[in-house]
Every structure is written in C-alpha cells, then in structure tokens.
Symmetry: C2
Subunit: 245 residues, 2 copies
C-alpha cells in the first residue's frame, strides 16, 4: 500500500507569496503534494520560491500545474472543497476534523484525495464546488469570520497531522532528572517533619496530627523530581545550619 | 459563573501587523481577551489597528498592556507557554489539543487561564517559560517546523473553538430540497426498471434478476434528494419521448 496523503490544490491562486506560505504550512504537518490550477502569475513563481525556503522549496519544485480544475482532480476518488460561505448547492458539509478523518480513511484504502482552496479574493466558484464531493467549512465565529487562504491551508494541514500524530497529548519534559520515587518523597516528608517538630511548628498539640497529615499530602501532591527533592532537602539543611550557627 | 475564556498574552511582540493578525485569528474562534507585555513599538499601534478591522479592532481597544510578564499573569491560576523548541526546564508539555481541553476545564471551574506567545524572532525566553505552569508544543514535522506567531495563535484559538463548538461534524447542505423518502426511491426504481425492460436491457434472461437487484441497490445507495429524483424521472421521460417520436 503506498503512503498516500491528500493533494492540496490551490485553484487560481493570485499571490506567489501565498503559494509559498501554503507549501510551508503543509510541510509543517508532513504534507508535500501540491497542485496548482491556473496560477495568476504563471509558474514557476519567484515570489513563491522566496517565501518557501528549504524543504518547502521542494514542495514547490514537485508541484503539478494544470490549466483546468477537471484536469487537476482527474485521478482523485474524493474531492473536498473549502468554502467560507454557504452555497446554493446540495452537498455534504464537514468540519475540517471530520473531513480529515474521512480523508485518512480514504487514503488508507488506497484512494487519492484532493482538497481544493480557492483564490484569495473570492474563494472557489460554484463551478468548482460542483465538481467536489464534499465541502469543508471551518466552524468560525458567525459574527467574525476572516480566515485567509494561508490560514485555511494551515488548519486543514494541522487537522491531517493532528489525527495522524503519535505525539502523546502530555509528557513531562525532564531536564536531565526523573520523577522522585515514593521513598524519596517519604524521606523528604520525614526530614521536614523532624525539623519542624524541633522548631515547635506543630502547635497546638491537638492540631499536630492534622497538620502533619496535611504536610505529607502536600509533598505527595507535588510532581517532584529527584532534583527537586535534593533542592528541598538542601534548602532545609542550609536554613537549619544558619540558624544553629 | 462568568463566561471565562483564556487570555492570549503576546510577550514583547515586534510587528504591529502581527498583533492585529493575532486579534483577528482569536476572534474567528470567539476569543477576545488579549494582553500585551512590552510591545516593541508602544501602544496603541496604528499598524495593529490597520490590520484588525471591525470587531477585531475592539479586541485591540480592550487589550490590556503590561510592562512585565509577572504583572500580566498576576491574576491567572494557570499559565500555558507556547514554544517551538525544547527547553532545559522540567515542565509538562502538552499538545494544543490537550492544553485547550485542560484550559476549558479550568475556565469552567472559574479559574483564569493565560496562554503566552513569544516575540516573532526568537520566541519566549526561558525566563518567561519558568513562570508558566505548562508548555504547549504543536506537534510539527521534525524535519520542517516553521510556525510563526500568527500561526501559533491561530492553532491555539482553533483548538479552543473546535472543542467548544456545537457544530455537527457533518451536515447535508440542501439547496431548498430534502432527502427523498424510500417510497420515492422505490417508484424511481420502478420507472427505470419498466422502461429498461421495454428496451430489452435485462438480457440474457438468466441474468435479469441479478441486474435488477444491482440497479435497485444503485438507487438506494445514492444520497438522492427529492429534486434529484424528479430530475432522474424527467431525464428518462424525455429520452423515451424523443425515442418514440
């Protein structure tokens, strides 16, 4: 099974800078198949190249250019069209999330998928959308919708990447240390309890048990690393040493 | 309970245009609390205003400006810091997805949340990040990571919006029509079967049953609207009429 990914097709893009920016946005999320339909300023476009440095330049080098949309989507089994406003066309409308989920399923079964993005000024024509299977509409604030071409490309690419990423949703970045095991937390608690006992902290007697429990709970609630535990021991030792001098 | 949403804090932003673009990106997903720490070119900034038209201008009008980060986050119970590269700091690192899920839970329990975005050139300093509770890192292509300030703001705002949206993931946009009920599909099938029978389409006899079954299945597999059904009846009637003239 080939490693299929959707082609992002820029339909009649106007500004070279936006073509370059689209290539960068795509590549951030591992997408490298770009197609262009009738780019206004011809192709290749030096402004697009200037915008897309490094690896994104190679996305442009490999971009396939077509004169018409039907040629550009000829080999695609499913075509998504991104639109901002609603059209008077009967068609399923999906969120980017659902659309990229669908695209992943199609690609996994070996089918070619395209996502269309319209020109900067007015977006796709109804002519173009009539050739798509499904509409993608980003659920934006109905009182303020202002996504531009680059942002639409970025959000679709992000959704593709998000759904395929095996990035854990949450990790603890440890700067050369590791989480302290319970035995170290226990000894830390002992150390503080002992010194605080000496200092007469647990007063009055009737409340001492409760105060000690709260303190044990505080230590174990903290996500302490072994380095943190050493720091906390060291702080206490130093304070006691100064006091006793 | 107040309708809490996170404040997006731009730390030492350089270009006014990017401040305006951030306001627009936020408002697309219903976020309107912006704070600024030491904007390079002072405040208010006419370039920011020029970039943020309409309602996004009001986000800038209400932006709160601070001299230092500790002042800007003083009232926040949880602070997220967006970073591109890994830092030598022990800290939980979350995807935007997980972070906004966490932010929603915090806001729902009445706590103020901030998300920090660093200056364009180099991002947040370790000084800044040390004051955050959690790091947000967008899982980008390790071989090509090039998200800028506006894109980081957009993706975090999108995640906030996506998780809170009650947009159905998929709807059928019907241009003044509705899905055809089964009885209409049945009658459509009858009409075609009848005319095709007359035309000698179901041949040879031994295969007729299977061919009819496949045709019935084709009609019911299509997501036809009542308007589609009328079109299909009309097409057939017209072809038969021409043929019989």
């Amino acid at each position: 099974m080939p490693d299929l990914q959707p082609s992002f097709i820029l339909v009649r893009p106007q500004m070279g800078e936006n073509i370059g920016a689209a290539a960068r946005a795509m590549l951030n999320f591992g997408l490298s198949h770009m197609r262009l339909v009738g780019p206004r300023d011809g192709w290749p476009n030096p402004r697009a190249v200037a915008m897309a440095s490094g690896a994104a330049g190679r996305v442009l080098d490999h971009a396939r250019v077509f004169q018409t949309l039907p040629e550009a989507i000829g080999d695609c089994a499913h075509v998504f069209a991104t639109t901002a406003r609603s059209r008077d066309l009967t068609k399923p409308v999906m969120t980017p999330e659902r659309a990229m989920e669908h695209a992943r399923a199609l690609c996994a079964s070996g089918q070619k998928v395209a996502v269309l993005f319209g020109p900067e000024r007015a977006g796709l024509e109804n002519e173009d959308i009539a050739r798509a299977n499904t509409i993608i509409s980003v659920p934006v604030n109905p009182d303020f919708a202002s996504l531009n071409l680059g942002q639409a490309v970025l959000l679709c690419a992000y959704e593709w990447g998000r759904q395929g990423a095996n990035t854990p949703p949450e990790v603890l970045e440890l700067a050369g240390t590791e989480r302290a095991p319970a035995i170290e937390i226990e000894k830390l608690g002992d150390h503080y309890e002992e010194r605080l006992e000496e200092a007469g902290f647990f007063f009055p007697e009737t409340k001492a048990e409760g105060m000690k429990l709260n303190l044990r709970n505080l230590w174990s609630r903290m996500p302490l690393t072994r380095a943190d535990v050493q720091t906390l021991h060291g702080m206490l030792r130093q304070i006691v040493r100064r006091r006793d001098r």
